[in-house]
């Protein structure tokens, strides 16, 4: 009896309070709006996750065919330097946000974490792969790089790796060709606008063809003077970031570049041997520098694939 009385007291108290305080049920829109916001946030995080995957995929596909022998001691050290940490971090953060959002939907708690995490991962990776296949990874990386001076696009990273004259690498384009009777000299302007008096006597026909297009190229060689800046060119490679190249194109390009440098190395070795046999004290030996540059030595240890 006492319990029943207390019960009805509570009922009265609650109903009175509802009336006195004019308590009203919140509108249905509050809840459907909240649900809508959570799903929208999930959608946005999934899109960002997919974009991060697209750019990361572009970097991985592009970089596995990079001519890393020219810039690094090993593929590992190269990979550590060029991995897209920013996008990998964004991908992880987006996945965590997506999981958080899914768990906060009306029925999200019913699914185990691994299912929510797995579905978010699969969706982002699938979406990212589609975006990558549509060329979004390359375009976004390039556009963001142009838009923001702080964003390390792959093009900027490649420029940074190759614009190191003291290490025998230059990025730029041919400006003036002055062919002399003994040595071939051209003027090559790097991306910083510095003009190098460049000796191209050791270049092969294909290198000269690339140079003469006037397009942006990479040069491998040795710095031979500071004032005025002088460079001894050993090989010329095309720039690879004007447009998105296919995997097949990149693979063939890499194979061709390696074969060229390897062949060049063999030719130079033969020339040196021939010169020693003839016991000539020729000034041309001074010009045969390419066989001795670090990258060519490294290539000598690697069989041509």
């Amino acid at each position: 009896m006492e319990q029943e009385q207390q019960n009805s007291e509570l009922k009265l108290q609650v109903l009175n309070k509802i009336q006195e305080d004019s308590v009203c049920p919140h509108s249905k829109w509050v809840y459907s709006g909240r649900e809508c916001v959570v799903w929208t946030l999930w959608f946005v995080t999934a899109i960002f996750g997919a974009v991060a995957v697209a750019i990361a995929l572009f970097v991985v596909m592009q970089r596995q065919f990079s001519f890393y022998e020219a810039t690094h001691e090993s593929f590992l050290s190269f990979a550590i330097e060029v991995l897209p940490y920013l996008w990998i971090s964004i991908f992880i953060i987006m996945i965590l946000f997506a999981v958080y959002n899914l768990r906060h939907t009306k029925t999200g708690y019913r699914y185990p974490l691994w299912q929510i995490l797995g579905s978010s991962l699969v969706l982002s990776v699938a979406g990212g792969t589609l975006l990558h296949m549509a060329g979004v990874g390359f375009v976004l990386d390039h556009k963001i790089g142009v838009f923001s001076s702080h964003y390390p696009s792959q093009e900027k990273i490649e420029e940074k790796l190759w614009q190191r004259p003291e290490q025998g690498r230059l990025v730029g384009a041919l400006v003036i060709a002055e062919k002399g009777p003994i040595t071939d000299i051209i003027f090559f302007e790097d991306v910083k606008g510095i003009r190098y008096e460049t000796n191209i006597s050791e270049l092969q026909a294909i290198d000269n063809e690339l140079l003469n297009t006037g397009n942006k190229v990479r040069i491998l060689g040795q710095m031979s003077g500071m004032v005025p800046p002088k460079f001894h060119a050993c090989a010329v490679f095309p720039w690879v970031f004007e447009y998105e190249r296919t995997v097949k194109e990149l693979s063939e390009m890499r194979k061709e570049m390696k074969e060229r440098v390897y062949r060049h190395r063999k030719d130079m070795q033969r020339e040196i041997a021939s010169a020693i046999n003839q016991t000539q004290e020729s000034s041309s030996n001074e010009e045969i520098r390419c066989a001795d540059i670090a990258m060519v030595r490294r290539l000598d240890l690697i069989s041509v694939q």
Partner: protein, 193 residues
């Protein structure tokens, strides 16, 4: 408006409450005793505190009536509010929940003898309600909550999942581990005695 509350489902009363405020009284009548017992079991012992918390639960339920998802059972929904309000109360009063079982002999026997979830953990100890209460006080909160809902409130896995907002699979795991921990605590108690 007089409505024979026994003939209507919770969901129908909720729908009615949205147009006739006083219908909410039927909900209070139906759930007051159940929720009072529940919050008492999960640790709110003082009758005044119980009354305050119950009032908060029903006010909150009324305010959020439109968020009630009809794919859930209404009882799960209101138990969830009760659970959350009890947690808020602990936080506000900075106390750890301590169980106070309002259980009859059958309920205690139920938890002791059931082979569900963990056949190897079936209890073979002769214990009484007081010992169970003490042991439940000693196990982790997350296990205590599910054991109380399962064995004292007789809720199904799906309902516990909806009340605690955890996946149904996790409910099974928590019950299994909870019973194991309870078993260990009871064993330790026997040794101490």
């Amino acid at each position: 408006m007089d409505v024979p509350n026994t003939s209507l489902s919770d969901e129908e009363i909720v729908a009615m409450t949205l147009s006739v405020q006083s219908s909410f009284g039927f909900i209070i009548e139906r759930y007051e005793a159940k929720l009072k017992r529940y919050i008492s079991r999960i640790g709110i012992r003082n009758p005044d505190d119980q009354l305050d918390v119950l009032q908060d639960i029903f006010i909150k339920a009324y305010k959020n009536l439109n968020s009630f998802d009809t794919s859930l059972k209404f009882s799960s929904w209101i138990y969830r509010i009760a659970h959350n309000e009890a947690i808020s109360w602990y936080r506000k009063h900075k106390v750890r929940p301590e169980g106070h079982l309002v259980a009859d002999g059958d309920e205690v026997l139920n938890i002791l003898t059931t082979k569900e979830d963990s056949p190897e953990e079936a209890f073979d100890l002769a214990v009484n309600a007081e010992e169970i209460t003490k042991a439940l006080d000693e196990i982790d909160d997350k296990y205590r909550e599910v054991l109380i809902l399962r064995y004292f409130e007789n809720k199904e896995y799906e309902e516990i999942s909806d009340i605690l907002k955890i996946p149904p699979g996790s409910v099974g795991t928590l019950i299994y581990r909870g019973k194991k921990q309870l078993h260990n605590v009871l064993n330790a108690q026997k040794l101490r005695i």
